[in-house]
Structure formats: structure tokens, C-alpha cells
């Protein structure tokens, strides 16, 4: 056990801290809304040029081209957290599609898509879930039939985040209807401008229409736009699901929120006394602090395992479940601490922290459900982590 960083890494930290400090004025503000706001794209460009995002992606694909170094990545993450500056873009294109293409894409696909995606010029959405295929994703029905050099796609996706703004979609479709459930699926990438695509926004509980229904009617996609082999889409998708789960439940983000709540409880007063003077709230705060530290130490363990190219085992499997739950609990404490003021929302007087705690409380619940629900995570932990048996299959229903 040795948590100290070598002098080279400490120097690297100092360098990153200085770089962020000197360029803080370039960062977009919260009010610079829109995925492609020029200030956001300029900031992304600056971050890539200095190795602060897309760090290990080869320069030929528009990345910074450093060799992978988990410690450097961690230092960068920590310095961003300290500085309070916005990190590089992390939409589903960057966090899920790019790693998938790097691993399984053809040279043409890599050359065509990675650079504009990293730059934020090409926005992607993830077309996996369907009305009949959520947790049981492999039962998806949207079909793609071969017609000449094209696939012709018919069917429907749902919960597709940012589909309205997206230029492109990475999408799971059934190409071999007679193959077994997990076998007949393929992974296609295509433009959201392709004729036959209709996007209908769905308003979520936070009040915004972030996710959508996406309908496909005779959508023609060249056969070259498949990633991986036909019928192997399940394996391709699973490569990206691992990336998604690693992204949710980041312990550094949890610590930043914990500190924000501690700050709120020290500055906000009720009946003339700081909220922190309430021993019950204080007790809840410390309870969550211990959990945040536990998840951070757990993260260090997972990182050590990755450095040694070993499996992190249980320590890795639990992150999505515990991390998302913890974030949700943190937001709940902030709201309870604020009391009546905690229910204010939108743009209204007396609002604290821009109403972000209510938004978080709702959004974090979405993250508990999305990307594999809490219950599915528990199945995974029990079956893969503890070796408990799978659910026995039901006998086939009569007449079905």
C-alpha cells in the first residue's frame, strides 16, 4: 500500500493546475447553452490540444495521443474537480461510440467518425432500448433487412437521449430473425437525417425533453455502416455498456457534491442558526461522508487492479449500484436540509444553487434506472460476483 505519488506525477499535477488556472477565462459559462455552442466547441478544442481530454486517443483520430496512464487521468480529474471548470465533452458519442470504434471499427470508420465526434461537431445518440426491450435488451425487435447494398430498417426505439440534437445514431437492430436471441443482432451507425426517421420528444420528470421516441420506416443504411460483424452486435454493444457503467457513479463527483452540501449547511440559516447546527442533519452528512470516502477508496482499489491488468472483482461490479444510489442520497440530504426552500424549482426567488439539488435528485433517479437498473445490477453482482445460480427459465407458455 502506497498512496503517495512520485515527484514526476506531483510535477504533472502542478502543471495541470497551472494550465487550468491560466486558461479559466476560456471556459464556457452555464448560460452558454446548446451542445454546439461556439464557446463549448472552442473549449473542447483547447482541452484536446493540451491533453486534458481525449488524452489517449491517437492524434490521427483527433485525440492528444498520449500513452494510457491511469494516474495521469486521475490527476486531471482531480484538478478539474478542484478548479470547478467544466470538463471535456462526455456525450454518448465520446464515451461509448469512440471506444467501440477504436476497438472494433474499420479503418475508414475510425478515420471518418472519431475526430468530428471528439471535436463535438458530430453528436450521437444511443439507439438500444425499445418499448418491449429494456432490461431484456436482447429481445429487441427493430429489424434490418438486406436489400442490395443497403440495410432497410423498420421499428422503434425509446428513451433515446439527445436524439433530437443528434447528427448520428449507433443502433442495435435484428438482422437475423431466425438466430437465437443474442445472436441475430447487429450494430449499425447512421445519420439521423436519413429519410424515414421520426423523432418524438418525451418529457421526463425534470421537465425537460432529453429523451425521445425514434421511429424507423424503411430507413436505408449502406451495409458498410455496420460495426463488427453481422449478428455480432450484442458483443459490440457489451463493449460499450462496460464503458457506460464505468462512467456512472464517479466518486470524485460525489465528493464535490458532499463538499457543496457541507458549504450550504454552513452558510444557509434557519431560525437564525446555520443548518449545520442541527445535529440530525449533521449526522446524516457525516454518514454520507463516510460512504463517499468508502467509494473513493474503492475506486483506488479498482484503479490499482487496472494498473496491474487484473480484474477488480466485486470492487468493480458494485460501482454503478452503490455510486448512483449515493449520489441520489446526497441530493436528498441537500433538499431536506433546505426544507421548504428545497422544493423551489425553475427560475424563482429564494432558489439555492440554481435549484440544482431538486434537478439532481430527479436526474440521479434516472441514472439508477438507466444503463442497467439497480435490480439488474444486483443480479449481476449475485451471479457474476458471488456465483449464485441464474433464474431458472419458465416453461414455454401454452399456445404462445
Amino acid at each position: 500500500m502506497d498512496l503517495a505519488l512520485s515527484p514526476e506525477y506531483e510535477a504533472f499535477r502542478a502543471e495541470i493546475a497551472a494550465l487550468l488556472k491560466a486558461n479559466a477565462d476560456k471556459a464556457p459559462a452555464n448560460s452558454d447553452r446548446g451542445l454546439k455552442h461556439p464557446k463549448r466547441l472552442a473549449w473542447q478544442k483547447f482541452l484536446i490540444e493540451h491533453g486534458l481530454t481525449a488524452r489517449t486517443i491517437p492524434t490521427e483520430y483527433g485525440g492528444y495521443g498520449a500513452s494510457p496512464d491511469i494516474l495521469q487521468s486521475r490527476i486531471i480529474a482531480e484538478e478539474f474537480a478542484k478548479s470547478g471548470l467544466p470538463r471535456g465533452l462526455a456525450g454518448q458519442g465520446i464515451s461509448m461510440l469512440v471506444p467501440t470504434l477504436l476497438e472494433l471499427g474499420t479503418d475508414e470508420q475510425k478515420a471518418q467518425w472519431i475526430a468530428p465526434t471528439l471535436a463535438g461537431e458530430t453528436v450521437w445518440c444511443q439507439g438500444y432500448s425499445e418499448p418491449g426491450a429494456g432490461s431484456d435488451l436482447a429481445s429487441l425487435k427493430t429489424r434490418a433487412e438486406i436489400d442490395g447494398d443497403d440495410y432497410v430498417i423498420n421499428g422503434q426505439k425509446i428513451w433515446t437521449s439527445t436524439a433530437k440534437q443528434a447528427d448520428m445514431i449507433f443502433c442495435l437492430v435484428r438482422t437475423e430473425p431466425d438466430a437465437k436471441k443474442h445472436h441475430g443482432i447487429s450494430y449499425l451507425i447512421f445519420s439521423m437525417d436519413t429519410p424515414g426517421i421520426e423523432v418524438r420528444p418525451l418529457v421526463d420528470m425534470t421537465g425537460s425533453a432529453n429523451f425521445n421516441e425514434v421511429f424507423f420506416t424503411d430507413v436505408r443504411v449502406p451495409r458498410s455502416q455496420i460495426v463488427g460483424e453481422p449478428g455480432k452486435g450484442w458483443q459490440v454493444a457489451n463493449a460499450t455498456l462496460t464503458h457506460e457503467r464505468g462512467m456512472l457513479g464517479d466518486p470524485n463527483a460525489a465528493e464535490a457534491r458532499l463538499l457543496a452540501i457541507a458549504d450550504l449547511m454552513q452558510t444557509e440559516t434557519l431560525n437564525g442558526a446555520p443548518l449545520m447546527d442541527n445535529p440530525v442533519l449533521r449526522d446524516r452528512l457525516i454518514r454520507l461522508q463516510a460512504e463517499v470516502y468508502a467509494m473513493q477508496a474503492n475506486g483506488l482499489r479498482v484503479m490499482t487492479a487496472r494498473l496491474k491488468k487484473e480484474s477488480a472483482g466485486m470492487a468493480g461490479l458494485l460501482i454503478k449500484l452503490q455510486g448512483c444510489q449515493l449520489n441520489h442520497e446526497l441530493a436528498r440530504l441537500a433538499i431536506d436540509a433546505l426544507g421548504e426552500i428545497g422544493v423551489l424549482y425553475g427560475e424563482t426567488p429564494y432558489l439555492k444553487d440554481n435549484g440544482s439539488w431538486q434537478w439532481r435528485y430527479m436526474y440521479d433517479l434516472g441514472l439508477i434506472i438507466g444503463g442497467g437498473t439497480a435490480q439488474i445490477q444486483k443480479n449481476i453482482i449475485a451471479e457474476r460476483g458471488l456465483g449464485l445460480p441464474r433464474e431458472p427459465r419458465l416453461a414455454k407458455q401454452q399456445g404462445g
Binding site: 498512496l3 449547511m265 449533521r282 463516510a290 482499489r301 461490479l317 444486483k378 443480479n379 449475485a382 460476483g385
Partner: protein, 361 residues
């Protein structure tokens, strides 16, 4: 940067676990619990051969000079086996003497701790939780009063205690005026006693300037070790539940294939694994960043106590009626976890302390 156990630490873990399986199986724990306290002597002897008494004693004083993380691994193994072996009190005593003893005191006590010629129990409850009528008062180098919940008294020759100002002392239990009367708790895998002193000669730790810090370090180490003990006990309860769930059949299938049962096991594992990281981290910080040690000890012990309570209950439930019996003996773990939770500060007390350590209260 490396957050993992060293090769030596893994070796310590496995040799200790092997030894405990031999010398401290559940049958032996049962005999200890039934009042045959002498069975612990053989365990203590076997552990002394592994060098556990020397573990925290600096090399200059005949010890191994290892750290809090090594001690936590030992205590974790003891908790796993609900072993009546003495370790925690001796570890706290070597920390206390190392912190606030004079050079002469270190030369006198530490080698004896290392070679096992003294066995030191610990009676520090009043520095955390003072009951009415309890507490020791010093007058002319002699102590008078009561200290509750002295731990590991069964084989002890001396006791580490404190007066009501928090000053630490060693008391020879051979003194006529020093009395130990047993306190029966739910946990019969260890012994607890009330210490009564009546103008009993006591050797104070010499370094006055370090009084507060010495006490804080001693309590911090004790809390980390109790957290480690609970960690080991929880790990065993989880493993027992998973094994049972994979064997026991009802409705024509193993109960571990029922999601209700499977999810109970998954929740136990998902809550416990980060605790392991937290306890290791707290132990590491204890040696490397003393200014954060007290806080981390409070957080680690309070958090694992909550998780422990959940696991103690849930593992018992997974076992159905069997879990409730003496036959399987799960209750020894249940009760050890329950006792660790209260000793040297309940979760609520520790969180209050953590808040004040951060200037929040």
C-alpha cells in the same frame, strides 16, 4: 501509487487464517463462551508463535515495527473466526506507550509486550462514554474509582486505563486493591469486566505534553481495529449466507435462485466491499497522515457498524430458522458485530466526533 496489500501482508493473512482454522475453530469458541476461558491460552500461544505480540512494537524494542494496516489485517482475521484471542488491547497499549511513555517506560514495557511476558487489558470506555458513578480519579500517584467494559481481561497481567482527565496509566492487576468483576454482554467470544480501583498504585505515562494526542491515537487505533474485526465477521456472515443459499433447496430449487434471496446477498456484498477499502484506507492513513487519522477512524468504524448491523440481520434471514439456532452458531458473529458497534463509541457518537473534528459542530 498502489492501493493493494503487499505480498507480505497477503502471506500474513493466509498464515493467520490457516492457524486460526486449526486452533480457534467454532467448537473452541463455544467452549470459551461456555466459560472455559483457558482454551484461549492455546490460541494465544499459537498466535504468539506467529509474532503477533511483536507486530506493532518498534524493532528497537524487540518488535517487528509493522503498521496499523498489518494490525487491521490481524484483527480482521480474528473477527472472521470470532476468535477469543487477545490482540486489540495489546495493540492499543503499544500505541499508548509508544506515544506518551518516557524512554525508560518504552524500554521497560515494549519488549515485555513483544515477548508476551506482560498481557495488557484495556479499560478506556470512560474517555468516550462516562456513566454516572464511573471514572477514575488520581490522587498522589494512586487511582480510585471504576472503569467499565475493560476488554481482554481474561489473560491480562496489567490494564491500560485513563483517569477522568484523559491521562493514561498502566495498573498491575496483581495489586490487591485492583478488582475485576465480569460484565456479561451479548458477546461471549470475548470477556468484559468492570475494573474497580481503590487507592491503587498506577504508573502514569510520563509525557504530559502528549497526553491528548496519545489518548486520541490510542482510541483511533482501537476504533480502526474494531472496524476491522467487524469487517472480518461480516465477510464470514456473507460467505455463510452465499454458501447456504447455493445449497438449501425449497420449491424444488436452490433458494439462491430466488431473486429475493439473491438480492439480499448482492446487497450485503455491495455494501461490504467498499468498507474493506475504507478500513484499509483508514489504517494506512493512521500511519501516513496522522492529522487525518482520528477523523478516518471515526468514519470507518461508524460506517462499517451500520453495514455490519445490516449484514448480521440479513445473513441470519437468508438462513431461515437455521440462522436463529445455536446449532449453526451464526449468533456468535451477530453478537460480536453488535458489541463492536457500541464499544469505543456508537455510530452516532463517532459521527458527532467526526463533525467536531472538521469544525462543523
Amino acid at each position: 501509487m498502489e492501493f493493494a496489500l503487499s505480498e507480505d501482508q497477503r502471506l500474513l493473512q493466509s498464515s493467520l487464517q490457516g492457524t486460526l482454522e486449526n486452533v480457534s475453530p467454532l467448537e473452541t469458541v463455544r467452549r470459551f463462551a461456555a466459560g472455559e476461558q483457558d482454551v484461549a491460552k492455546a490460541i494465544d500461544t499459537a498466535l504468539a508463535e506467529l509474532g503477533l505480540g511483536q507486530l506493532l512494537v518498534p524493532e528497537a524494542h524487540g518488535g517487528l515495527g509493522l503498521g496499523a494496516l498489518d494490525a487491521a489485517l490481524v484483527q480482521e482475521a480474528l473477527g472472521f473466526a470470532v476468535s477469543p484471542a487477545a490482540f486489540l488491547a495489546g495493540a492499543m497499549a503499544s500505541e499508548a506507550i509508544g506515544q506518551a511513555g518516557s524512554t525508560a517506560q518504552k524500554y521497560k514495557w515494549l519488549p515485555m509486550l513483544a515477548d508476551g511476558s506482560v498481557k495488557i487489558a484495556v479499560a478506556l470506555t470512560e474517555t468516550v462514554s462516562m456513566r454516572e458513578g464511573a471514572g477514575l480519579i488520581e490522587d498522589g500517584g494512586k487511582l480510585t474509582g471504576k472503569a467499565l467494559f475493560a476488554l481482554e481481561t481474561n489473560s491480562a497481567s496489567h490494564v491500560l486505563t485513563a483517569d477522568i482527565t484523559g491521562k493514561l496509566y498502566l495498573v498491575d492487576l496483581a495489586e490487591k486493591s485492583a478488582k475485576l468483576s465480569p460484565l456479561e454482554t451479548i458477546d461471549q467470544t470475548r470477556t468484559y469486566a468492570e475494573l474497580t480501583l481503590d487507592k491503587t498504585p498506577a504508573e502514569p505515562h510520563a509525557d504530559e505534553a502528549k497526553r491528548g494526542e496519545a489518548l486520541a491515537r490510542t482510541l483511533g487505533l482501537g476504533r480502526i481495529l474494531l472496524a476491522a474485526d467487524t469487517l472480518g465477521a461480516c465477510q464470514n456472515m456473507l460467505e455463510k449466507a452465499v454458501t447456504y443459499a447455493a445449497e438449501r433447496q425449497q420449491f424444488g430449487r436452490v433458494i439462491g435462485s430466488f431473486q429475493a434471496v439473491k438480492h439480499m446477498c448482492a446487497e450485503m456484498a455491495a455494501k461490504l466491499e467498499p468498507c474493506r477499502s475504507l478500513v484499509w484506507h483508514a489504517a494506512y492513513i493512521f500511519d501516513t497522515e496522522p492529522e487525518k487519522a482520528a477523523l478516518m477512524a471515526c468514519l470507518a468504524k461508524s460506517h462499517i457498524s451500520e453495514v455490519g448491523t445490516f449484514i448480521a440481520r440479513t445473513s441470519t434471514e437468508v438462513h431461515g430458522g437455521m440462522g436463529f439456532t445455536d446449532l449453526v452458531g451464526l449468533h456468535y458473529w451477530f453478537k460480536r458485530i453488535g458489541t463492536n458497534r457500541q464499544w469505543l463509541g456508537s455510530p452516532e457518537q463517532l459521527r458527532a466526533e467526526a463533525a467536531s473534528l472538521q469544525g462543523w459542530a
